[in-house]
């Protein structure tokens, strides 16, 4: 196996890491506290108290 193949494998691993970060981030951010509905709920509760 030539060094080019090893660097190519390293390149593929880097891409896998990048896409995994995006996939994990996208999945996790679907339920984060940034949603308008959730924020509005908090605001409403605060105002009510």
């Amino acid at each position: 196996m030539t060094p080019e193949y090893l660097w190519a494998i390293a390149g593929v691993l880097c891409l896998i890491v990048l896409f995994t970060m995006i996939a994990v981030g996208s999945a996790a951010s679907r339920n984060d506290s940034l949603d308008h509905a959730e924020l509005d709920d908090d605001t409403t509760k605060g105002a009510g108290q």
Binding site: P3, W7, C14, F19, M21, G25, S26, L39
Partner: protein, 496 residues
């Protein structure tokens, strides 16, 4: 009519139609948001066209055949898949950016609000060097192409190209760019499919294939080590360019939320066909053992002038010039955005009204055009090296952008030092053990040949930046509330 006159006539006709289209819609610009993000209501068709026109650069037309000539089939595939995947990978990130920073205008807004001052300044310097370098290559390429094909003086070619683009971009900003991008992308897609057909009609595909198989069989192999390395690493470099460059961020902010993802995906898929079409021109040169006096980078113009004749050269010029002008327009607007939004409104005059910021953007666009002409006329010989060298910086910023957009506990100081280390070590690998600073080198180590190269430098840079950013954030987490970004308003809006 002489061939040179014909060339000038084509440029004037195309340029006049773009100026007309750009200025016609420029009356709609009433505030900074219109000038930088096109009013934030751009749909799928216009959005895909502008992303496509921006990403189809002079390099796409000229360097994809060079990749095909150097690495064979894997070179063309690598170029096409790498660039297309990078744009598609930006789709989910663009949707996230729109959600966490709905009033954002530039990538600088993200770095300023998400990280701290040192990260913002470091990024701003890297971004301006990158964007101005890219703009410069488009200006130079326009001059070189007009000179090579039609014998038009280099200086005249640069000045007329920059002048035409400046006329509509300075007045109409993003709204004019959207309008002309649509026309230019239609022209590009039409010509890019006619061209290879015309060339292969002349060259005969059977002759080309037999020639490749007998003269350079390695170009047909799918296990060519150098080609595989290119195929596997080039998407990382392209992703770095897309994720870091302000033109893509402006388009993310400009698009309607409900069409964001599909627009970037459509643009990425559409883009793939352009380098595949132009890249295959190189196989004609390989299969017919064509002489290339200008080296591999001149393979496309040589094939065109040998096989397509005068009419073909005119079509090729129109294709290339549309690609150059559209990218140049997007970049001028992108760099002007950084100037007016990040430098003028956030540093020079924080109390500026929206009209003052808009005026600063128009003046900034003129200044950027003058800088482009002044530097392009010098014909610096290190431009291509500059773009490859910058790939190491692009790779270092991938993880800080992605992690910063999605994760709450990223440590800004850890990220800052990770980027510095990543770029430094990446440049050492790029220089084969020497710290390569482009204009001079600092000797440090002696690396074996297999451990150095621009592609290897990008891998090392990404790895260090990723490991450093994620590990430092794991050990010393710094919580961040994304709602501060969501509720942020640009300074010029609060003072208008």
């Amino acid at each position: 009519m002489s061939f040179q006159t014909l060339g000038v006539l084509i440029i004037v006709l195309l340029g006049a139609s773009w100026i007309y289209a750009g200025l016609k819609v420029s009356k709609r610009v009433s505030n900074t948001d219109d000038y930088l993000v096109g009013g934030r209501q751009v749909g799928v068709a216009l959005g895909s066209a502008t992303i496509l026109a921006t990403w189809v650069t002079g390099n796409t037309i000229l360097a994809s055949p060079e990749s095909g000539y150097t690495y064979g089939i894997l070179g063309v595939l690598g170029y096409a898949v790498g660039g297309g995947v990078a744009v598609m990978a930006f789709a989910p990130l663009a949707a996230r950016l729109k959600k966490i920073l709905p009033t954002g205008r530039t990538v600088g807004d993200f770095f300023r609000l998400r990280y701290d001052g040192k990260n913002y300044w470091l990024f701003l310097v890297a971004l301006l060097v990158w964007d101005l370098g890219w703009l410069l290559t488009q200006g130079m390429a326009a001059g070189i192409i007009l000179e090579t094909i039609f014998g038009i003086p280099f200086a005249f070619g640069v000045i007329i190209t920059v002048g035409i683009v400046l006329t509509y971009v300075s007045v109409g900003g993003m709204i004019s760019v959207l309008s002309t991008d649509f026309l230019q992308s239609m022209l590009i897609m039409l010509l890019v499919f006619i061209f290879p057909a015309l060339i292969y009609w002349q060259a005969n595909p059977r002759t080309v294939y037999d020639g490749m198989a007998s003269l350079a069989p390695e170009t047909l192999r799918l296990d060519n080590p150098a080609g595989l390395l290119f195929l596997c690493v080039i998407p990382l470099i392209y992703a770095g360019e897309v994720f870091m460059d302000n033109t893509f961020w402006q388009r993310a902010f400009a698009l309607r939320t409900n069409v964001l993802k599909k627009t970037f995906i459509f643009a990425g898929i559409g883009w793939v066909f352009v380098p595949i079409a132009t890249g295959t021109l190189a196989f004609v040169a390989v299969g017919t053992d064509m002489e290339l006096p200008g080296g591999p980078s001149s393979v496309a113009p040589e094939v065109v002038s040998n096989l397509a004749g005068s009419i073909g050269s005119v079509f090729f010029l129109a294709l290339l010039w549309a690609a150059l002008a559209s990218t140049m327009a997007a970049l001028m607007n992108g760099v002007a955005g950084i100037f007016m939004n990040d430098i003028y409104n956030n540093i020079v005059n924080r109390n500026a009204t929206d009209k003052q910021v808009l005026l600063a953007g128009r003046i900034g666009t003129v200044v950027i055009a003058l800088i482009t002409v002044a530097t392009a006329l010098q014909r610096p010989s290190t431009l291509l090296s500059l773009l490859i060298w910058l790939g190491i910086i692009n790779a270092a910023y991938l993880t800080p952008v992605v992690a910063g957009a999605y994760f709450k506990r990223i440590n800004p100081t850890g990220t800052f030092w990770s980027i510095i280390c990543a770029i430094t070590v990446g440049l050492v690998f790029y220089g084969g053990g020497d710290m390569d600073l482009l204009f001079f080198q600092i000797p440090l180590f002696t690396f074996p040949e297999w451990a150095s190269g621009d592609l290897q430098g990008a891998i090392v840079s990404f790895t260090i930046a990723t490991a450093g950013t994620l590990l430092s954030s794991r050990i010393w987490p710094r919580p961040f509330d994304f709602r501060t970004m969501r509720d942020w308003e640009p300074l010029s809006k609060t003072h208008s």
